[in-house]
């Protein structure tokens, strides 16, 4: 352990290259979708979809598909569909319904993980699904990852203005003829895909951090949606790379001398940035009382 910021071999390590690339791609996509999650106050839905990713990931292992990204994606999409179907308008009822779906999904996850560990020799499968596997990412999955990410980004790009307005004020959007339900459904699909991607990076259970952390931080720094999205993407990439770097450096850190989990380090970095954004000095630069609605026309 040399105590340098960039431990030797960091820039030449193939696994690190992959991790940096995948991490950056996922961070950008998560940020762009996550902005709306925060604006729509749907953190619970996002978190539930992430947890449901556990079900999908474990199911895919059971079926012999070694790359969990499809499992994550399909489970999240089904979850999003169910939540939309239960489509209750009132927030408390929606939370209850989301919780019930989540309970069933996690019950299934319990079963699949159990069957995974007893049927095959993949012992570390729970860890991979729950907490990510960035350093052992299979590059053959990269095209699938990018494809799914592109779909998510496309959905957001195409519906950007409509999504923004209906997130801030559904009544106003409906009055202007925007198909609020349709836009909401498209957004849920994008959310499911983004969650699946984040699950690949830092695990199903921690995926929420990448989805809402950088956007929440960005929204503390600026109220203009476009700028917030760019800022969130930048913060996402920065924290992911920081986490990867620290994970690599941590190989010889105490107490166990085999490295700290990269997922934890990324989450910690995201949280640290969020706390930094709370600093009064930075806060003074934005007028907190300005509602987001007032700045939809930058």
């Amino acid at each position: 352990m040399t105590g340098r910021l960039f431990e030797p071999g960091f820039f030449t390590n193939g696994a690190v290259h992959t991790a940096l690339l995948v991490g950056a791609v996922v961070a950008v996509i998560s940020a762009c979708v996550g902005i709306f999650t925060v604006i729509r106050s749907q953190a619970f839905a996002g978190e539930s979809l992430g947890d449901l990713g556990t079900t999908g990931g474990s199911a895919s292992y059971l079926l012999g598909v070694s790359d969990p990204v499809w499992g994550f994606a399909i489970a999240a999409l089904i979850g999003a569909g169910l939540i939309e179907l239960l489509g209750v308008r009132r927030r408390p009822d929606r939370d209850l319904a989301t919780g019930i779906v989540l309970g069933a999904g996690l019950g299934l996850a319990a079963l699949f993980l159990y069957l995974d560990t007893t049927s095959s020799s993949t012992t570390g499968v729970s860890i991979t699904i729950l907490f990510g596997s960035l350093f052992v990412f299979n590059t053959a999955t990269l095209p699938a990852l990018i494809a799914l990410g592109a779909v998510a980004l496309a959905l957001v790009a195409v519906s950007y203005r409509m999504l923004l307005l209906s997130s801030i004020s559904p009544e106003l959007a409906a009055a202007r003829g925007i198909p609020v339900r349709l836009v909401g459904a498209a957004y849920l699909i994008a959310l499911a895909l983004a969650v699946a991607l984040a699950a690949v990076t830092i695990g199903a259970v921690l995926s929420t951090a990448l989805l809402i952390g950088p956007p929440a931080t960005a929204l503390r720094l600026t109220k203009r949606p476009g700028l917030a999205m760019l800022t969130a993407a930048a913060i996402g990439v920065l924290t992911t790379w920081l986490g990867i770097l620290l994970a690599y450096d941590s190989y010889y850190w105490p107490p166990v001398q085999h490295g700290w989990p990269v997922s934890f380090l990324i989450v910690a970095a995201i949280f640290a940035f969020y706390l930094l954004a709370q600093l009064p000095a930075l806060r003074r630069q934005t007028d907190r009382r300005t509602p987001v609605a007032a700045t939809t026309n930058p």
Partner: protein, 265 residues
């Protein structure tokens, strides 16, 4: 074996009782978020060689206090989610330091009902009894403030302190129930029976009693099924919970459709 049934019964009573108020007060998110904080506590305790229940207890209480301080909804959604994901990450970190990584995670997340020891039974019973007792004491104020918070304030009830008390009671309940059902599914046991019960029973006491009964039925059926099939208890808890809620909802829709047909609407 007796320990298992005993522990399960206690857990069901606790979850059914606290769950009734969690659903009444629309705290589904807190019921999901608090156990995740507890996860980190259990992992930390395990690392330090201490009792996992102690770790669950301490971190649940800390989590309850932070949620109460940060407020409940709106903008604080993101903060709560972030804090709890951090707790989960910390849990993963602590576990990564220990040797028994994978099996420990599994049992913390999905419960280890079949492995409840006699030494665990005492703290579980004590914590569970404490949470149920506290709920009984707070019954009326909680009910009033959940329904008419303004009038409750006017009568001298401090609703913010009441909210903190309730979260602390939930923390107690979580420390008692997580060792048995796991952090992932404890909230399902809290909200599914209560959610189902409230669609059937019309008065609060009846709904509370029914919530406990449904929780008991869920847990007992899950254990029996788990013994038969060797599949994890958590699977049955989650799916039976969802099934009971869907059944209750269907019955409700059916009844109101019948009512409308009869009254010619």
């Amino acid at each position: 074996m007796v320990n298992t049934w005993l522990a399960a019964t206690i857990v069901a009573i606790v979850a059914g009782t606290i769950g009734f108020f969690a659903v009444l007060r629309r705290s589904a998110f807190a019921a999901h978020a608090l156990p995740q904080g507890a996860f980190a506590g259990a992992a930390c305790a395990s690392l330090l060689g201490l009792s996992t229940i102690l770790g669950l207890f301490v971190f649940s209480i800390l989590g309850a206090i932070s949620i109460a301080l940060l407020g409940r909804r709106g903008r604080h959604d993101a903060v709560t989610a972030l804090t709890l994901v951090l707790m989960l990450g910390l849990g993963a970190l602590f576990l990564s330091f220990s040797v028994e990584y994978a099996p420990e995670i599994y049992s913390l997340l999905f419960g280890e009902i079949l492995g409840v020891s006699r030494s665990d039974l005492l703290p579980i019973t004590a914590l569970g009894a404490a949470s149920v007792l506290a709920t009984v004491v707070l019954y009326r104020p909680l009910l009033l403030s959940s329904v008419i918070s303004d009038a409750a304030e006017a009568r001298g009830l401090n609703t913010r302190r009441l909210e903190l008390c309730f979260l602390l009671v939930m923390a107690l309940a979580i420390s008692a129930t997580v060792p048995v059902v796991g952090t992932f599914l404890v909230f399902s046991l809290m909200i599914a029976p209560a959610g189902s019960a409230r669609t059937i029973a019309t008065s609060p006491l009846a709904a509370l009693a029914l919530s406990i009964l449904i929780a008991l039925a869920t847990v007992w059926a899950s254990i029996a099924a788990a013994y038969q099939t060797n599949w994890p208890v958590g699977f049955y808890v989650g799916t039976i919970g969802a099934a009971s809620y869907i059944l209750a909802r269907t019955r409700q829709t059916w009844q109101s459709a019948l009512f409308k047909a009869n009254t010619g609407q």
